[in-house]
Symmetry: C2
Subunit: 551 residues, 2 copies
């Protein structure tokens, strides 16, 4: 009855599942199911076009993946599944009826973009985020001083202002993870993780006060009635409904944990249950998670929430906006032509870049291809590459990009340390971390910290399974479950002292450029403004203005 | 007897010849002959290795090309060749015996790098250039305030200091162009063009004073006896020797003009014989030539010499170090993989880049891949690229590099204008100018000047032929010959006003970065110093420092 737990990890393009042994954390089965509609960023399924910056998802894709994956895990685990955990991207926000029906499923709203789930990377709500930031609300100090266009309040405000009928019809605004749990157990139970990091809810203080919301927009206080008081992580939200038991082949009543954000689930996933150990989930972008005994207002971080990652600790989140996607940009625009395909290009560039030594190329990059999250919280920045010569090789550029993400990581570390958080070592997981030993070594060299690498393909899904095991009352609490079931590191990279000396100098230049080029009147912001102005203002009929000269 | 003249253009990898009608300048025959040994930058022909920064040539290659090309021109022109002109890269410097024999031809010196002709782009004499620049000699004001490692005094000093026996054996130090003329006419006649721009000789003032040379190094004043008083451009150096007449098939006694530098020969080649018209020879690098009535000391230019380009004018030279070679770097490292070969890549990128509009990419480059000549005179700078995003396309980078060379051209123009030179329009020739209409349009847009394009494959060789026609007394002087024989523009590009407004803004950012990033403590200089330090100081046995973690 109590041998396994299931973790389901809802990502951006697919969902992943693991079946883990509750006694050891060993993963005995995994499965992946891609979303049929992927990310809706050009048009709705029924046809209407979407503006740039929009990113939606289809709740039907989640349900399909949920059913397929649970069935596969049930087939592997039989009657011995003790609990289920769910992690989800966040803030991925749905407008639903009081019974949980997404407005997007109704004929009246099928063609209305605002009625569809806004994916975490939906950026069209930026003007509303700006207005919240301009309000001077002091609660933002627990969120690095700024809210994000990706988070709940900007997104609901966008619906309120741009589609008042959708807003009026929405009995609830709910996170994708909380909505999945609602489907599984038949009642609405919110997670304090999603609420804490993405809806500015703080334990004991609640959501932003109605007076603030009223001041921002008279319609906003009504949203408070459409949320719910969230529950701590590790709580059981209830037992699996008969309907979902029959769809999945699992026992009715199997306990389901309250949802957790995907990045936050990775912390128990890699077995980290102490303060001072920075977990870096290195993928398209990087999320940094760390536990501490204190709550400090640190400028530029994403947020700090008591119990937001694991009970008994304040959980801090920070991040880098441009990591794997910046490297893939280089591989896609150059490497695939040189090496034939994406995998060969990554492998070829990794090998060539690893043969170089620190500082040898004379190159330095600013890793802002997709903006800067911590500490600048500025998505309008763009990248830079300095030191190019006629002898510069592509592998040198690739290494400079890797190094730039390492410098970005060091800057996140220093931002946390300046805020009073002590950081002993780094625990790296995520797609890129498992693919690039060079990246891991550079991160150790540049940060001067021991870096632990994990061979766990689905750290978040394993973390979700750990939540499931706690909901199933196999372990006393999340900390105990993490210590028992969390993955163990397979490799330790130590900082190389000599490399560290060179990288200290390069990092000094990086810091200097970071400050100089990000200023409002700096070159990069001016280039961005010019670019926006040009594409908005001008039509360009004439490519050349030339004439033959009569001789 | 007087229908044609021959121009021979000695370049870096090959020599080119034209046979031109003296009455019209029409080119009736052309030929190219590559140098058998190319540039000697790794080893001498007999084996000894060369240090980095060295670049030598083989005088035998020049003689072979001279004979082959003269024979081909003689075959086409028959008895109707009135004169011969020779242009040459400069300062390309030989140590020779009193009879003109290169020391490199002697067994005793065959294995001695310092005995071989130092090609213009030999950069190993930089420490000596630095010492001359540190001397505070006021004569440098006619050379932008600095001498170059590429020029005569740094190169002879290198020989004196590093190979005293070679120095002692050298009865003459002579430019390649002057040496070719010596071969053809059997007597040593120096050109005021080469002496003026590369040996700091000024009409009426002579070479640098012996007191200065004595102060730099007690051995240097002896060099003055191993140069010779130069002759004005358009002078006949003498008639073709019987030996060379028999080798070439031309008449003995055919007049040969004093030599001229290749870039300087392009000015008559494109028919420019007035002040205010900037001739840009756009190739691997770009040389800018302009005539004026005044001699002004302008910081950052390469030099100003009375009659140095054409009689009756002060000839100014300035330059950009990174143009075609920077574009080719991009095409070689990226384009050839994408498009298959060099020609298709240039064509494909030109087409794609031409479809973009000013400012659209948000990119800006600093064109320092090979350093900056005018106005910074700093070969230690390296390039930068700002504004990169996940959406950046290779064609946008290519266009940003083209635009950066246009900004560099505008900066050269403004440097000359700040020095009191007025510039009416631009006359562009050279390989890149004939290949890229987009480049020409961008130069017009960015500089706000009309730009005239020429369809003349060998402008320098045609210029040399114009010198030959004057030596043959077909025309009264070089100005008259230029007006009669110089090429005519085939196309005029006018500046597009709207594009100019966008480029004014981008150029403002370019100027700001130019100042900020070139400073001694700026990022680019620090990256270069770090790079030098790293490659000199460290051995790197350990690529990774990692260990398995026992579980």
């Amino acid at each position: 009855m109590a041998r396994y737990s299931i973790g389901i990890d809802f990502g951006t393009e697919s969902a992943r599942a693991v079946l883990a042994e509750v006694a050891t954390g060993e993963v005995v089965a995994t499965a992946v199911h891609p979303y049929r509609h992927g990310v809706l960023d050009r048009a709705l399924p029924a046809g209407p076009r979407l503006d740039p910056e929009w990113a939606l998802q289809h709740p039907g894709d989640w349900l399909e993946a949920l059913e397929v994956l649970l069935r596969q895990m049930a087939a592997a685990g039989g009657d011995e599944v003790a609990g289920i955990g769910v992690d989800f991207t966040s803030c991925t926000l749905l407008a639903v009826r009081g019974d949980g029906t997404p407005l997007a499923f109704e004929d009246a709203f099928r063609n209305r973009p605002h009625a569809w789930p806004m994916l975490w990377k939906h950026h069209a709500a930026q003007p509303y985020a700006d207005r919240i930031n301009d309000s001077g609300w002091e609660g933002l100090r627990w969120y690095g001083g700024r809210t994000s266009s990706e988070w709940l309040w900007a997104k609901v405000w966008q619906v309120l202002e741009e589609a008042p009928d959708v807003f009026a019809a929405a009995d609830r605004f709910i996170e994708g993870g909380d909505w999945i749990v609602w489907q599984l157990v038949g009642r609405e139970v919110r997670s304090s993780c999603q609420a804490g990091y993405k809806a500015h809810w703080q334990p004991g203080e609640g959501y932003p006060p109605a007076t603030l919301l009223q001041q921002l927009h008279p319609g906003l206080p009504a949203v408070l009635d459409r949320l719910k008081e969230p529950q701590p992580l590790g709580t059981s939200a209830g037992g699996l409904t008969r309907a979902w038991a029959s769809r999945s082949g699992l026992r009715p009543g199997t306990p389901v944990a309250v949802a957790v954000i995907d990045a936050h689930a990775a912390v128990p996933g890699v077995g980290v249950a102490d303060a001072g150990r920075l977990v870096a989930i290195v993928g398209t972008s990087t999320c940094h998670m760390i536990l501490d005994e204190q709550r400090s207002p640190i400028p530029g971080i994403s947020g700090v929430v008591q119990g937001g990652i694991l009970p008994g600790f304040y959980g801090y989140e920070a991040g880098q906006a441009s990591v794997g996607d910046m490297l893939e940009w280089f591989v896609q625009t150059y490497g695939v032509y040189r090496y034939g395909d994406l995998a060969s290009a990554f492998a070829g560039l990794e090998t060539e870049a690893a043969s170089l030594v620190p500082g040898q190329s004379g190159l330095l990059a600013l890793d802002w291809w997709n903006g800067c999250r911590t500490p600048l919280v500025d998505s309008e920045l763009s990248g830079a590459l300095l030191g190019l010569t006629l002898a510069t090789q592509p592998s040198e550029i690739y290494r400079a990009l890797l190094e730039a993400t390492a410098f970005g990581t060091r800057l996140v570390l220093e931002t946390l340390e300046d805020g009073g958080i002590s950081i002993r070592d780094i625990h790296a997981c995520g797609g890129l971390a498992s693919k690039s030993p060079l990246l891991l070594q550079l991160y150790a060299d540049v940060t001067g910290r021991a870096l632990y690498a994990y061979d766990v393909p689905y750290a978040s899904a394993l973390g979700a399974a750990i939540h499931g095991a706690v909901a199933g009352e196999i372990h006393a609490d999340l900390l105990a479950a993490t210590r028992t079931m969390g993955a163990r590191p397979v490799r330790q990279h130590a900082p190389r002292e000599k490399a560290g000396r060179v990288y200290d100098e390069l990092y000094g230049i990086y810091r200097e450029l970071h400050a100089a080029l990000s200023s409002p009147e700096g070159a990069i912001k001016r280039l961005r403004r010019l670019r926006h102005g040009v594409t908005r203002k001008f039509a360009w009929p004439d490519r050349y203005q030339s004439a033959e000269v009569s001789t």
